[in-house]
């Protein structure tokens, strides 16, 4: 397949691995920020190809994993309402809240629908004027433009029975939280390619300078990731700390201006609680005041729903790259995708699920 096979080529991968081995002289810890990258690394066994000096730490960039339990419980409360048609991206359906998941709510009569684009919700809203259509707007900067567009379009088209439950998170504050953590071991980042396709990389430049940390904007195919690692290792070995772009076929320095405009027409930054990590200042988006009529959190009475997350799983440390799934005593025994103890085992992009699904033959 064009634009895919080129980036999974065996002999080119081997060449990159040889070059990485040639370049590396001492141990380095590199964090891939995005859950999609973690998924690729473990699915293709890339970590097995790298020299022992290089440790990949898996980052917090899985939007399903970091959505707080409280917000999930609020979403579930909405999905149970008989007047609501609850729309979601597919992989949110399996995430357990305090009492079950969206599949179970659907089985018990809740109208839960999987959509591929939030704009599909507007069609559903038009076709069901007697219902209230709520979209669970989760994700990083990647999904924010389309989610913002759905609200923008709803207003333009006069659709009044549509709202979104916002759980947006943003990458740079999370990277700062990782670097600020006293136990931080991360020395370089593979930046999240698709987030940067929207936002560009200007906002990462002060971060690289302040923390003296190399950041390589990286794609998601095996060759992208190996090349990203090579570029990061070269910077580390040479003592540089710059923002470089491996993913040039998709990312420009200024990002996608039109998409950014749409995000900030509709959303504004806010503090956000991350599952397993806690509140990170300025790390989320919420709807601007002028779009309050499309904000499910204000339209429905959800304030009474307060959830407490027990602290007996290490997913918070895993999301910060401080621990590996294989460091957890419960991994693969008490905690599996069928009986997840924490968020990182639930989503396909969570580090624990990636290890379990693809890499558990390597975990002793």
């Amino acid at each position: 397949m064009k634009y895919v096979d080129e980036f999974r080529n065996h002999s080119l991968a081997q060449k990159l691995v040889v070059e990485i081995r040639r370049t590396v002289t001492k141990p380095w810890v590199i964090m891939e920020v995005c859950g999609g990258q973690t998924h690729s690394i473990v699915k293709y066994g890339l970590d097995q190809l790298l020299p022992g000096e290089i440790e990949l730490a898996h980052g917090p960039g899985c939007p399903v994993c970091v959505t707080s339990l409280e917000l999930i419980d609020r979403a579930h409360a909405l999905a149970r309402r008989p007047d609501v048609i609850f729309c979601s991206f597919g992989d949110m359906l399996r995430v357990p809240g305090s009492a079950g998941d969206l599949f179970q709510i659907k089985a018990q009569g809740g109208d839960v629908r999987v959509v591929y684009s939030p704009l599909d919700c507007l069609k559903i809203a038009r076709a069901n004027p007697e219902n209230r259509v709520v979209f669970f707007a989760i994700g990083f900067e990647t999904t924010a433009p389309a989610n913002a567009m759905s609200v923008w379009q709803a207003r333009a088209q006069g659709i009044s029975n549509y709202s979104i439950l916002v759980s947006h998170v943003t990458v740079p504050p999370a990277m700062i939280a990782v670097l600020d953590s006293p136990s931080n071991r991360v020395q370089a980042f593979l930046g999240a390619g698709h987030v940067c396709a929207v936002m560009g990389w200007e906002e990462y430049e002060p971060l690289a300078a302040r923390f003296r940390v190399p950041i390589v904007v990286t794609g998601f195919e095996p060759l992208d990731l190996l090349e990203g690692v090579l570029m990061a290792v070269r910077q580390l070995e040479e003592g540089r700390h710059e923002v470089e772009n491996q993913y040039a076929r998709a990312v420009a320095r200024e990002g996608n201006q039109e998409a950014k405009r749409m995000i900030f027409r509709v959303f504004e930054p806010c503090d956000r609680a991350w599952r397993g990590i806690g509140v990170i200042p300025g790390s989320g988006y919420r709807l601007r005041e002028e779009f309050a009529a499309y904000d499910a959190a204000r339209l429905f009475d959800l304030e009474g729903i307060v959830s407490v997350e027990p602290e007996n799983c290490i997913s918070g440390l895993i999301l910060q790259g401080a621990k590996k799934p294989s460091d957890c005593a419960a991994f693969g025994t008490l905690c599996t995708p069928e009986t997840p103890l924490g968020a990182t085992m639930v989503s396909a992009e969570g580090a624990c699920a990636a290890y379990y699904n693809y890499g558990r033959h390597l975990v002793s």
Partner: protein, 347 residues
Amino acid sequence: MKEFTLTCPLPMADRKTVVLGHGSGGKLTAQLIRDLFLPAFDNPLLNRLDDQAVLNAGAARIALTTDSFVVTPLFFPGGDIGELAVNGTINDIAMSGAAPLALSAAFILEEGFPMEELARVVVSMAEAAKAAGVPIATGDTKVVPRGAADRMFVTTSGVGLVPAGTHISASNARPGDKILLSGTIGDHGMAVMAKREGLEFEGVIESDTAALHRLVAAMLAAGEIHALRDPTRGGLAATLVEIAAASRIGVEAVASAIPVREPVRGACELLGLDPLFVANEGKLVAFVPAESAERVLAAMRGMPEGRDAVVIGEAVEGHKGMVLLKTEVGGTRVVDLPFGEQLPRIC
């Protein structure tokens, strides 16, 4: 060791109601069979967990199978629910090595379902049965009130005669066996999903629905076969895992050897799905002793249903019950049963 209390998110396996995943052919289906059906129906014929039961009737050995079809939409590129029901049941019989003798067909129809569409399905079943040379010998019809079923459901059962000396079972694969796959994977599942979701892709994606009994007969004439299964729900992944578990062997497969049509790959990439887990309706996987693998493979390639047949790996002594896949770039990964429904990923 510190005691670990399970108080974090709810254990998902403990379900009070049936969810869609229980019918997905993945882990939830396996749990339902293990925890409910097997203890209730407990008998040696069922406990083998093959796609068909093989019973002794005097000197003869009869293969018996049944399958329900609830596909939405009823008509999709490359086939329809009727053709699927006939071919699917013939295939479940054929996977024991048996020659299919006859089928039954039971219809559950929703009040208000257009007669014209029912007629199209029935004609399609008749044509598929005729092409396969297997008569639909008996049947049943029920109509339920509007809303009590989604348009129409079909249940087909079938019987076949197992040739003397043929003992094929998912539990008969042995270390050293070569693993043969009869052609491309993922066609049926993606054809149905594309139609259901109104997605359009470059290139045509059509269901691969086909009756495989003639292919199996040609393979049996060429050499010995230990295990056979058609990778339907749950895809190739589920079939390999099931055979690895039932035969207590390890499976080592090579990703680059598994053929996937370009439009199917593209559609899977776009939706974040893995073709390994996508359903097929006209393919089979065979575990064949190494010494007869070449002959069986040649026989497969000589038949229209097996012209793209390939060797995708082998059974090994180690890592019993586990399927490992050598990836395109040279790493390895585990292949497991899907948990429930395959979900499109967010990004």
